[in-house]
Symmetry: C2
């Protein structure tokens, strides 16, 4: 029996696996988890993942590591399947040998986490699938990276990997990563590109705005920069079947893509390196639908579909077809970040993103079902 067309799949949902949480607890510099005693005398865990973290870090609890909490959250919000990935900052802070060992162990842990999860209804499909980790740190060898790509490809419930923006120290436009892109492309794995570092904190000024500026702006700026550098490096020309999924609907990349194309057009050296207009490459991307507003989602689908105009030999100036663009967009929640202020409530990060999908002008019900779940079932090959 085929899966229902109405399944909801969350492709942007994180975990600190117990082995990783234990590592964070063992540390005393970022990233680490600190146990403190509140004014009320109860114990509270706080997570600090960046230097100069506002508000003494954010409270963390079982939502971050306990699989039952993930499943409860899914049940509460009508999410059938989650594609779970480790939360930032992954292995970025570790020496190469430890990163390599831990990547392998955490990938096996995540396979176990998924493979022993319940099934969806009467189907064989599990409720949890995963995105593995590569030991992307300075001084790692290419062969170690390729070995972990092979491991991820061999674990049946892992369907891709999550990746930050630093690569092995010089960013993702580093040619040293070419063999890794090639291996990922060959293995048919999805790369989920996710921010962690934001931008230099001096940009935020000295007002007390909590996490608002680094999260609302810094995260998308980082993703935008990394994806743009990938475009400029020619990675999408060299690896045309590479499938990259960008967090937070690509950040500011869709909104800045025509400006980017114009700036490239005014720089003959950069322009000559690329086979296509920058806007062409946006049509090769997958973007989560974690943008919190229907206008944003509609626009992102415009930008994906207009990539057609920049295909070689195309002379169409047709208006962007949002329906086409919607096929590369996928619902996500960013769980367990952005918890509700009251624990009994539904999570606004879920309801806002589901409402946004429901309210997009120019998407049919089928398009919306696609963004809510069908696109993920197809991209991650979940139909069995």
């Amino acid at each position: 029996m085929p899966l229902s067309a109405k399944l909801v799949v969350d492709i942007h949902t994180h975990v600190y696996l117990p082995r990783y949480a234990a590592l964070l607890r063992s540390r005393s510099s970022v990233p680490f988890i600190r146990s403190t005693t509140t004014h009320q005398g109860t114990s509270e865990d706080r997570l600090l993942i960046l230097d100069h973290e506002p508000s003494g870090g954010r409270p963390v609890g079982a939502q971050y590591w306990d699989r039952e909490e993930k499943l409860k959250f899914m049940d509460k919000h009508g999410i059938d399947i989650s594609i779970v990935s480790s939360a930032n900052p992954w292995l970025d802070f570790l020496p190469a040998s430890q990163a390599r060992t831990l990547a392998s162990e955490l990938n096996n842990d995540l396979e176990q986490y998924c493979s022993t999860s319940p099934v969806v209804g009467n189907h064989k499909v599990k409720r949890l699938y995963g995105l593995g980790l590569l030991p992307l740190v300075p001084e790692i060898t290419t062969s170690a990276l390729l070995e972990i790509v092979r491991q991820i490809g061999s674990l049946p419930h892992l369907r891709g990997l999550i990746m930050g923006t630093r690569g092995i120290g010089k960013g993702l436009d580093d040619e040293a990563l070419d063999p890794v892109w090639a291996a990922i492309e060959n293995a048919g794995l999805i790369v989920f590109l996710h921010p962690h570092y934001g931008v230099d904190g001096s940009a935020w000024g000295d007002k007390g705005n909590g996490h608002v500026l680094p999260l609302a702006l810094g995260f998308p700026f980082e993703t935008t920069t990394a994806a743009t550098r990938l475009i400029l490096s020619g990675v999408f020309d060299k690896f045309p079947s590479l499938r990259l999924l960008l967090a937070h609907s690509g950040g500011a990349l869709p909104a800045l893509s025509s400006r980017l194309a114009s700036c490239i057009g005014h720089d003959p050296i950069v322009a000559s390196r690329l086979k296509h207009d920058a806007r062409y490459y946006l049509g090769k991307l997958y973007l989560d639908a974690v943008a919190y507003g229907p206008e944003e989602l509609g626009f992102v689908s415009d930008v994906i579909s207009r990539a057609e105009r920049y295909k070689p030999g195309t002379s169409t100036k047709n208006a962007a077809n949002r329906s086409v663009g919607s096929k590369r967009m996928l619902f996500g929640t960013d769980h367990p970040f952005f918890p509700p202020l009251s624990s009994s409530n539904k999570w606004a990060s879920v309801t806002e993103n589901l409402e946004a999908i429901a309210d997009v002008e120019g998407w049919s019900e089928e398009d919306k079902d696609g963004v809510r779940g069908r696109n993920a079932i197809s991209l991650f090959n979940l139909e069995e």
Copy 2:
């Protein structure tokens, strides 16, 4: 006789007035203009406005300071009126006393530049109007700033002022600027907010991408950050009639505004400081139409118009009305930046932005005429 509804007004067009260009020539550290001899033995001026400028700076010439060149450019591209502003970095690098003197002199120079310009057809309206400069530098006194606001308000061909993002050293969310916002609001001047610094250059990596990343991404990131900090500081609550025009269609602010609202909603301290949802304030902004693509412009007009939903007492969930949003968008060219690669060509920065306006789905011809010129005639009160 009223002005034609078809006039084209360029509200984003820059000048280095001769007095300012002379200052840049007298300097040997950024910002400065350096005369070099090319391989062909001819002399060439290059402008360096940031440390670590790629490609040894950009070539500059008469387009930057000669009024005849501005008028020729306008004629070539069918631009009837330009609202000219000094190009970055303005007076940011000067000691307070020099900045104050020069602001006053340059405002008078710009008044002269505009007041002696030709008229449009048989009208009294000139072809050039201007945006003045404030001496926004550390250690400037409030009274000096207020005096220059008064000066600008008294010069008949200046209709506002251009401003960078540093304020008097701590950004635009600095309460020390409150009297300045109040004076600008009272004088009915338009503030054109424009980037210069971008973000920390380490984000761009070490590949040779010329000016592409700082211009395509850094500039919009800076504008987005400054405008967001203004929203978070409550400036729009305190000065509800302040009219702010954002460069480059607001950068990434429209695309990140629902994410911003969500992040604020998860931070009770920040949320409690603001009277409205972040998206409400975007409906108070004016945005240039310098985004190089029709989907971008349509989306920006969606975001402006949906601000209605966040007005107190509103329960509408109507789809955004692009026509409403278009009323706050204004054509611009960014001249004399982005010159064509061949001097005989039209400037792509003009043709791309005009084509983008023409191609927006959901804008009527009247809306498009508005964005091309009528909105500027109204905002800058040019009808006489």
